[in-house]
């Protein structure tokens, strides 16, 4: 197993900095997390954190429009950003001699985005994001599953109730003043973690970080997350929904409230998910796809989200001609079987979790993101190494208890996508 080494720093303005040197390949990954995500969006402004993320690439005080991308490409770099429920991240991987360019670009937009913001850019990126929504959600089979699941699992005033992409109507309402307010509130060094991973000299890198980020003043205290994050650990009833679309195959989504990422009960959920669907001898694949031939594919995921209560989603695509009631019973039977697993079932599942983590750690970009994650969410970059110890320590009894406690009818959302009779709408 790889143990990732690192050192931590903090600038006077509150910026947390994590440096992890690995000179194997002459690249450096720069990763910046801001502690703002869809959970921070107020009502009527869903999708705004993501729209704002787009605006961060439209130039800043010393960087004209489109030049951000051009500079990185000219340096032979790759770059992107993403928005999630708990955070927004920005990252680039550059040939190592271009470290200073990457830091300069990130600092210029952290400190000086607003002078470059225009209505025209906002209107343009709004159109882009609306097309992103059409592409990911509206024009894809099963495309709005996460939006529906979140709305079923979380009450309307919960920060996780709405989807990251947001609604078309709310995107239309976003204004330039919203952009400015959002920037001043959340895009501040005291609300950020900067991680460097790869081929660089830590002392020289810190000098550059100080030079570019040191002058950025801290922002005001970040407001509390809107809405009510504290909810019961169980939904209290089964919630059901059926959606008809132009599909070839029906698909069943199950979702359960589970302990939040970082809480004591969460590792058991991750292990349970691996037992259920990781690999071809996993519980659901072996029984539903191979033995009983009811399913085309099976997937499960315990969401790494930290606010109060997380969710575990299981989805199963039905084969043609399989009655949905039959498939649902079969899936639930297997979920029940989790209450009877033995220690031997765990080893394989944990081995696959480790293999996946090993795959992630091979790339500097992923390594840097995991360091930022553990620093921001848990104040502990070393958790990049210790998290696997937590997984290995999960016992069969804990998985059985987890299944009994959370994977039950009164804590369950059931979302069916069914082929519309006669095809098209």
């Amino acid at each position: 197993m790889i143990r990732v080494g690192f050192e931590e720093h903090r600038l006077g303005n509150g910026l947390r900095v994590v440096l992890s040197r690995d000179a194997s390949v002459p690249v450096v990954a720069i990763n910046l997390w801001y502690e703002v995500g869809s959970r921070n969006e107020r009502e009527g402004r869903t999708g705004f954190a993501h729209l704002f993320e787009h605006m961060m690439f439209q130039g800043s005080e010393n960087v004209p429009e489109t030049v951000h991308f051009a500079l990185i490409e000219k340096a032979g770099g790759t770059l992107n950003g993403s928005t999630w429920l708990d955070r927004t991240n920005y990252f680039e991987t550059l040939p190592s001699h271009y470290l200073e360019l990457g830091l300069w670009l990130e600092a210029d937009r952290m400190g000086g985005l607003l002078p470059a913001m225009t209505q025209e850019k906002l209107d343009n990126q709004r159109d882009v994001v609306k097309n992103e929504r059409r592409w990911r959600v509206d024009n894809q089979p099963y495309g709005d599953w996460d939006e529906r699941i979140q709305a079923m699992l979380y009450p309307p005033d919960h920060p996780y109730h709405h989807s990251v992409i947001g609604s078309m109507a709310d995107l239309d309402s976003a204004s330039l003043e919203d952009v400015a307010e959002f920037f001043r509130t959340y895009y501040a060094p005291n609300n950020a973690v900067l991680t460097l991973c790869g081929d660089f000299d830590p002392a020289a890198a810190m000098t550059l970080v100080e030079r570019y980020f040191g002058a950025i003043p801290p922002g005001p205290p970040v407001p509390s997350i809107p809405g009510v994050a504290s909810i019961p650990a169980h939904i209290g009833r089964e919630v059901r929904q059926v959606v008809e679309q132009d599909l070839a195959l029906a698909r069943l989504f199950l979702a359960y409230r589970i302990p939040a990422y970082g809480m004591a009960g969460h590792p058991a959920a991750v292990v349970a998910s691996s037992i259920l669907t990781s690999g071809k001898s996993s519980m659901l694949y072996r029984t539903l796809v191979r033995e009983r031939q009811l399913a085309q594919d099976v997937v499960s995921y315990a969401f790494p989200i930290v606010l109060g209560v997380s969710m575990m989603v299981v989805w199963v695509t039905a084969r043609p001609g399989v009655a949905d009631a039959l498939l649902e019973v079969a899936v639930l039977e297997q979920m029940e079987a989790l209450r009877r697993i033995e220690p031997g079932d765990l080893e394989r599942a944990v081995g696959l979790i480790e293999a996946h983590r090993l795959l992630e750690l091979e790339r500097m970009e992923e390594r840097a993101d995991l360091l930022s994650l553990n620093t921001m969410l848990f104040g502990d970059p070393g958790r990049i190494n210790s998290e696997l110890d937590e997984m290995r320590a999960v016992t069969a009894a804990e998985v059985r208890d987890f299944a009994g406690e959370y994977l039950r009818a009164d804590n369950r959302c059931v979302l069916w996508y069914l082929p519309r009779p006669g095809g098209r709408k």
Binding site: I2, D22, S24, V25, P26, V27, E61, N62, T66, F69, L71, E73, K74, A75, G76, G77, P95, H97, Y98, E100, L101, W104, A107, G111, G112, D123, N124, D127, V128, V129, K130, N131, R134, W135, D138, N139, R184, R211, Y212, A215, I216, P217, D246, L247, A248, G279, K280, S281, R286, R290, Q296, R348, L352, E354, A355, L359, E362, R363, R424, K425
Partner: protein, 456 residues
């Protein structure tokens, strides 16, 4: 709110030092019986990526059995004489791995990724599947059915529909490249267990294969383990690799696959491209990057950043052993379908008539040459590069000349290949979207008739 202080921030783009050398790995050729072995040793992580690569691919599908190569590769783990499919799954998971199979047009592979101390069991599994796959009736039939059902599902996915349709539009359905790599509903329905067993016998043999190991092992250990697993693998020489014929001329028309009410249209513009060994390779790489192969590319800049029609536009040349497709496209809001096509044609036309300015070409060359390092960051990336060089016979010193090849490309060369490959008369068009909403405006583009097709 008090404005942020701007005075101390550095204004200019920082200067840069010189680049270091690009870390192309040394590749050591070894032998395991009659099987060629290539080791790219890397000690960055204690992991090994192992791929058994075959010099056959979807191009070798028997006529009317499109998807045969792919189905054969993906059914190797359906069972062997000694092991059931569940045995195989358990053994793979016991070494913390899963089987990765791939069928491309010119090659296929099966591989695993393991901690380096599991070299021997990993090679044993790969060897057993490659040599002794039995395609047991029940399990094979299930795999075939799952593939057919996956195809049914793909008929509802607009980007996949568009990809199949543009390939067919460029090459015609009688050309290997005009058929989906994983087959159609009809072709996979026609594939029998005997056809797969026959394909396996003819194509999965050491004379047409090589083993790549990228990662943490040494010559001796690898040669020993590979000889143990493959040393006795001797089968008659296989068929020669099929090559694809020259495609027929493309008929000017817009092929429309109707998806009533679709909020977006998937648009594709295609042409016949170049083969991997072509002397136009480097100019075409530069052309493609400028046209639609990067975020700042002209298609993306026009359709996304200028017009806001799409989340992203792209283009790519598929350099296969024979001349593969060129495809450009985007998912655009339905109302802008005809405008987006007109924009694409305008951008393509300009690339073929006007010489690009040096800053754009310079940025593109640097993106391609400096950016090579990303493909060398992981074992998998290195293995892919080694496979490409070997499959296409590019020679062991290929990458030493790569950067020079990129840097030698001139603006005039880019214009010339754009004009030659992307001539308006040689273009194919596909739209997957709401026919009622877009048909009239598509007819108004003056490209040709709008012909309706179905997803295959």
């Amino acid at each position: 709110m008090k404005p942020r202080s701007l005075t101390r921030r550095t204004r200019a783009v920082p200067a840069v030092g010189p680049p270091g050398p690009i870390p192309f790995p040394a590749v050591t050729p070894l032998q395991a019986g009659s099987l060629r072995v290539l080791l790219a040793r890397r000690r960055t992580v204690p992991i090994l990526d192992l791929h058994l690569v075959f010099r056959h691919g979807a191009t070798d599908d028997p006529v009317s059995l499109a998807g045969c190569a792919s189905l054969t590769a993906s059914a190797l783990d359906a069972g062997t004489a000694a092991s059931s499919q569940n045995d195989i799954a358990r053994r793979l998971e016991a070494i913390g791995s899963a089987l990765a199979t791939q069928t491309a047009w010119d090659h296929s592979s099966i591989g695993v990724r393991v901690l380096s101390d599991r070299l021997e069991p990993a090679l044993d599994i790969i060897a057993e599947l490659a040599r002794h796959a039995a395609f047991p009736e029940t399990e094979f039939e299930q795999r075939r059915q799952l593939r057919i059902e996956a195809i049914l599902q793909e008929r509802k996915e607009p980007d996949i529909i568009a990809g199949h349709a543009i390939a067919r539009a460029i090459f015609g359905s009688h050309h290997p490249y005009g058929r989906p790599n994983s087959g159609t509903h009809d072709s996979v329905t026609a594939i029998t267990r005997d056809a797969v067993r026959s394909f396996h016998r003819q194509h999965f043999c050491p004379a047409r294969a090589f083993l790549i190991a990228a990662g943490d092992t040494d010559d001796e250990a690898l040669e020993r383990a590979a000889t143990r697993a493959f040393g006795e693998w001797v089968t008659p020489p296989a068929l020669e690799t099929a090559s694809a014929p020259d495609p027929a001329r493309i008929r000017p028309c817009i092929r429309l696959v109707d998806r009533p009410g679709a909020p977006q249209s998937e648009i594709r513009i295609g042409a016949v491209g170049a083969e991997r060994a072509s002397s136009d390779y480097f100019p075409l790489l530069v052309l493609n990057t400028m046209l639609g192969g990067s975020f700042t590319s002209r298609l993306n800049a026009r359709l996304r950043e200028e017009r806001g029609f799409t989340y992203g536009a792209f283009s790519r040349f598929a350099f296969r052993r024979s001349r593969g497709p060129f495809v450009a496209g985007a998912a655009v809001e339905a109302g802008a379908t005809h405008l987006a096509i007109a924009d694409c044609l305008d951008v393509i036309h300009t690339m073929g008539t006007e010489i690009a300015e040096e800053p754009e070409i310079d940025r593109t060359r640097r993106y391609l040459s400096l950016g090579l390092v990303h493909g060398l960051e992981t074992n998998a990336g290195v293995a892919a590069r080694v496979a490409e060089v070997e499959v296409h016979g590019l020679g062991p010193a290929y990458y030493e000349g790569y950067v020079a090849g990129i840097e030698a490309v001139t603006a005039e060369q880019v214009r010339e290949v754009a004009a030659r490959y992307l001539d308006r008369d040689g273009l194919a068009y596909v739209v997957v979207g709401d026919g009622a909403g877009v048909r009239r405006e598509l007819e108004g583009l003056g490209i040709g008739p709008v012909e309706e097709e179905h997803a295959i």
